[in-house]
């Protein structure tokens, strides 16, 4: 589950991570109030208005702007709130901005130069351990840094037996070229950050940039926080932070019905049990000359209600010219699935595109017979190749 910047920063701050302070607002009036409050708390006279959406590259799309007065806070907030923000990580249409964060200006001039650092915490799947990845090249796209100057990216792996150790935090601060007060602040920053990562069952932290201010403070200017969905049962309060407006509404609806659905662009819909077989079915559609319109895993219990819901969701997309149902009945009996398909088909009534049903496994022969004798415009198959050939015929 992804969080907004302001939510992520609140959580990090609760673990003692130093963050750029800010207050979230949903209207221009609230934004001005937030700015006044921030001024009273921090003394900042310039403010950064930051669009809160689940996508990176917000600055490039005009979603992050500096306001040098309360009037500018108002005018910029009015401009950003409600806009469709297009960034390199959104679709062409962009994402609607529902809220902005009014943040303190932390790039003020002072005794030393400010510098931007990149830092993330994530799982190293190769070793099964968490690691901190960091670079002196902050504020940039880390993929570009990895390509052009890979020697400027460092990693530090954490031993799960003992957690992050002091020498590791020091190593990070040394590698980042810090000294004096900034060095000390960084070791504290790294330790708190890692504590937060373990404490909240995160699956990704990306802090880009971490800023060394002109007075040698270290703070998180941005925060991309992703929580491990499987760990949410331990953090009921964080589960409430989910912003469904940021997700594809069809995906959300499917999820609530127990379906794992991802909307795609093609012309052949599919309904499958199991994630691996679902991906393989999409590949088969492609090889047969079509393009998959979706990924859909109906899970272990493909009963009539779920099948009906799945059909309805797929049929909503008018690009879909055919649907391939591919169920390998192991524990699920194919005749039950067949009955579900027949019932769903009758309930929906106006299905006017061909449906290919491939049922294999327990009671597959009986299931095929049921489909063939149902009188519906449904093509049945047992072998996978047979189903692929039928898709080819129909597309």
């Amino acid at each position: 589950m992804n969080l907004h910047e302001f939510q992520g920063k609140d959580i990090l701050a609760s673990y003692g991570v130093n963050v750029q302070k800010g207050i979230v607002a949903t209207t221009a009036d609230e934004a001005v109030e937030a700015a006044k409050k921030l001024n009273a708390e921090t003394g900042t006279e310039w403010y950064v208005v930051k669009a809160q959406i689940h996508a990176g590259g917000r600055g490039k799309g005009g979603g992050v702007k500096l306001a040098k007065s309360l009037d500018e806070v108002r005018s910029i907030s009015e401009e950003i709130l409600g806009m469709m923000l297009v960034t390199p990580q959104t679709s062409k249409e962009g994402k609607k901005v529902h809220q902005v964060m009014i943040a303190e200006d932390v790039y003020y001039p002072g005794e030393s130069e400010t510098s931007e650092i990149y830092m993330s915490v994530l799982l190293n799947r190769e070793t099964g351990r968490n690691m901190i990845m960091y670079s002196t090249e902050g504020g940039m796209d880390i993929e570009t840094v990895a390509e052009e100057t890979p020697d400027r990216i460092f990693t530090e792996e954490i031993d799960p037996k003992v957690g992050l150790q002091g020498f590791q935090a020091r190593k990070i601060a040394f590698n980042l070229g810090l000294s004096g007060k900034a060095f000390k602040e960084m070791t504290k920053f790294v330790s708190s950050l890692y504590n937060a990562y373990e404490g909240i069952d995160a699956s990704l932290f990306e802090i880009n940039p971490v800023l060394k201010t002109s007075d040698d403070k270290i703070l998180a200017v941005d925060a991309k926080v992703t929580l491990d969905d499987n760990g949410l049962f331990r953090h009921k309060d964080y589960a409430a932070l989910r912003d469904k407006r940021e997700e594809d509404p069809t995906d959300v609806e499917a999820g609530e019905a127990g379906l794992n659905f991802v909307n795609l662009d093609g012309n052949v819909g599919c309904m499958v049990n199991g994630a691996g077989l679902a991906m393989a079915t999409m590949d088969i559609i492609k090889m047969a000359g079509g393009n998959p319109a979706n990924f859909l895993d109906v899970g272990g219990t493909a009963d009539a209600a779920r099948v009906e819901k799945a059909f309805r969701i797929i049929l909503r997309d008018d690009k879909v010219q055919a649907i391939l149902v591919n169920i390998f009945g192991g524990i699920v009996r194919c005749d039950r699935v067949a009955q579900g398909i027949i019932d769903a088909y009758k309930n929906i009534e106006d299905i006017n595109i061909p449906i290919i049903v491939r049922l294999q496994g327990t009671n597959a022969v009986e299931a095929k017979k049921m489909i063939d004798e149902s009188g519906l415009k449904v093509h049945s198959a047992i072998a996978l190749q047979e189903a692929a050939d039928k898709v080819k015929e129909l597309v």
């Binding site: 190769e126 524990i331 996978l384």
Partner: protein, 292 residues
């Protein structure tokens, strides 16, 4: 001989009296598995499915000599159950549970690193040696005792491969569902290695999917050490970048973990890569000289 489990395996079920555990333990017994008992804390001393229930895994091991455990414990308690099995001396731990937090698995992996046991899963269909033991949730009737080993990240796609192998006139030595989570106990390379070293396996089917480096690692190992024909398939050629496809581990991050990249590496390493999952059975039949 087969690998991991066979007719001599003494199997216990952790989460024995729950609905999942009860149903699948029944199916396992029906498939001829030697289920010697189960564990449900607080229900020790009872009988379930005509077998003894124990409070702890070590009690079960002491009383029954169990050496294999299958885990159906809910996600919040599954990490604990795995470590309990390892500590009690279980040699093969098969974790079916789906949805274990990643940070729990980080600890489990570390805990198991110096224990003398193999863990398969989590979030997997289990392990089956037809005619020997089914330690999992796969439909037993599609299997046929034989000499083809199967390794796969995905459940139903494993069944697909098993079924094709059977229908093409062959059978399976052992099928291993390794699971599709970011952290798993037995990697694809380790599973392939077991089957490569098994004198009763003549060919190996290796099924992967987008995400991670596991298939590439297995392929490189096969290039150096392979002695048997391998048929490979990678699901997710059409999956878009950056979207998770069902399994927590199935996400295309970089250029290295796409289906195309993995297939190219596998081909380079001498694996017979099929583009369509419908061709797994016939391709293997040709390689081992069986008429389909």
């Amino acid at each position: 001989m087969s690998v991991l489990v066979n007719k001599d395996s003494k199997v216990i079920v952790q989460g024995f009296t729950g609905s999942e555990g009860t149903f699948h333990a029944g199916q396992m017994i029906e498939a001829g598995t030697n289920v010697v008992g189960g564990v449900t804390p607080g229900k020790g001393g009872q009988q379930h499915l005509e077998r003894p229930v124990f409070n702890t895994v070590s009690d079960a091991v002491k009383e029954t000599g169990a050496d294999v455990s299958i885990i159906f414990v809910p996600p919040a308690f599954a990490a604990d159950a795995i470590m309990e099995a390892a500590e009690a001396g279980i040699k093969v731990i098969v974790t079916i549970t789906e949805g274990i937090p990643v940070n729990d698995m980080v600890k489990v992996k570390e805990y198991l690193s110096d224990k003398d046991c193999v863990m398969v899963g989590p979030n997997c269909p289990g392990v089956m040696t037809p005619g020997g033991a089914k330690v999992g949730i796969m439909p037993a009737f599609i299997f046929n005792p034989g000499r083809i080993g199967i390794v796969s990240k995905s459940g139903t796609l494993t069944y697909e491969a098993v079924d094709q192998i059977t229908k093409a006139g062959m059978g399976q030595s052992t099928a291993i569902g390794i699971g599709g989570d970011p952290i798993i106990g037995t990697s694809m390379k380790e599973a392939v290695e077991m089957l490569m070293n098994d004198p009763e396996t003549d060919g190996i089917v290796m099924i992967g999917e987008i995400g991670g480096q596991m298939e590439a690692n297995a392929a490189r190992w096969i290039k150096e050490n392979g002695t048997k024909p391998v048929v490979g398939f990678i699901a997710g050629e059409t999956a878009p970048k950056g979207r998770t496809m069902g399994h927590a581990g199935a996400i295309v991050g970089g250029s290295e973990d796409t289906a195309q990249a993995k297939k190219a590496i596998m081909k380079e390493c001498g694996i017979n890569v099929v583009d369509s999952p419908a061709q797994i059975g016939e391709t293997m039949a040709q390689l081992v000289g069986v008429k389909a």
